[in-house]
Symmetry: C2
Subunit: 145 residues, 2 copies
C-alpha cells in the first residue's frame, strides 16, 4: 500500500468522523480523484472523473463530498477565475501560479510562515491564498511568435 492509498483509506474515515461526518464510498471516490492528479479540477471535472468509477454519482453529491472534505481540512478551495471554483488537496503552505492562457496551475511551496505584511488591528488570520497570474513557459513561447 503506497502513501496515497493509505491517506485515502482508513485515514480518511477517521478524519471525516472527527469532523462529524460519515465515511461514504462517494467521499472516498471524490477524495481519490483529487489525490490521483493534483491538477486543481473544478467540481464539474471531479464529477466527470468520479463517474468513470461510480456512474450513478450525482453532481449534488460531488458538491456535498467536496464541502465535507473542505470542512475536515483535507481539501481547500481555490478561486482563480471568474465562475469556477477549483479544489486542491495540497494542504501544505503554498501558492498557485496560474496560466491565464491554458489554465494550468503550478503549486509552489512557500517559506514557512511567510509574512504578508502588517494586518488590520485585531484581525484574526485563518489562512491566506496567494495566486500569481501570468503565462506558463509554453504559452509565453507561443505568444511571442
Amino acid at each position: 500500500m503506497n502513501a496515497v492509498e493509505k491517506k485515502s483509506g482508513r485515514d480518511l474515515s477517521e478524519r471525516l468522523n472527527t469532523g462529524g461526518f460519515r465515511f461514504t464510498p462517494q467521499r472516498q471516490q471524490v477524495y481519490d480523484v483529487l489525490l490521483h492528479r493534483h491538477d486543481h479540477p473544478t467540481a464539474e471535472e471531479v464529477f466527470i472523473r468520479s463517474k468513470r468509477a461510480m456512474p450513478d454519482i450525482s453532481m449534488a453529491t460531488v458538491y456535498n463530498c467536496l464541502d465535507a472534505l473542505v470542512q475536515c481540512g483535507l481539501v481547500r478551495l481555490v478561486q482563480l477565475e471568474r465562475g469556477a471554483t477549483r479544489y486542491c488537496p495540497n494542504m501544505e503552505e503554498h501558492c498557485h501560479y496560474y496560466c491565464d492562457a491554458c489554465g494550468t496551475v503550478f503549486d509552489v511551496a512557500l517559506a514557512a510562515g511567510a509574512a504578508v505584511g502588517p494586518r488590520p488591528r485585531g484581525f484574526q488570520v485563518d489562512h491566506y491564498e496567494i495566486a500569481v497570474h501570468g503565462l506558463c513557459a509554453e504559452c509565453a513561447g507561443k505568444r511571442k511568435k
Copy 2:
C-alpha cells in the same frame, strides 16, 4: 476639483481611448461608483448604486463597463468567495484581508516588489493576488462571547 473627480473625469476618457474603448456616461458612472467607496462591491452592488444616478442603466452594461475598466488597467477583479466577483479600483500593490463572517475587505499595502518565492521555469508573471482570510476585530469579538 479634488483628486477623485479629476481621476474620473478627463483622465478616464484618455485611459479608455488608449485602451481602444469609447468614453461613455455609463463607464464614468460605474467608475465613479467604484472610486466613491473603496469597499470592493460586486457587479450587482455596482448596478444598484449606479441606478440611483442613472435609473435606465442595465446589468449587461455594468458588466461591459467593468470589463472595459479592467482591460484599461483602472480596476482589478478580486475573487474572495464562491460565486461573486468583486471589483477593486486600487491599483497599488496591496493584499486583501477578508472577514469570512461579515464580508468586509481591508486593503493592506505590500512592500514594493514583495517576493512570493521561486517561480516555475519560464513562467511570465503578470500580477499576483494575495487574500488573507479570517475574522475582523469586530466579528472575532462577537464569536468569543
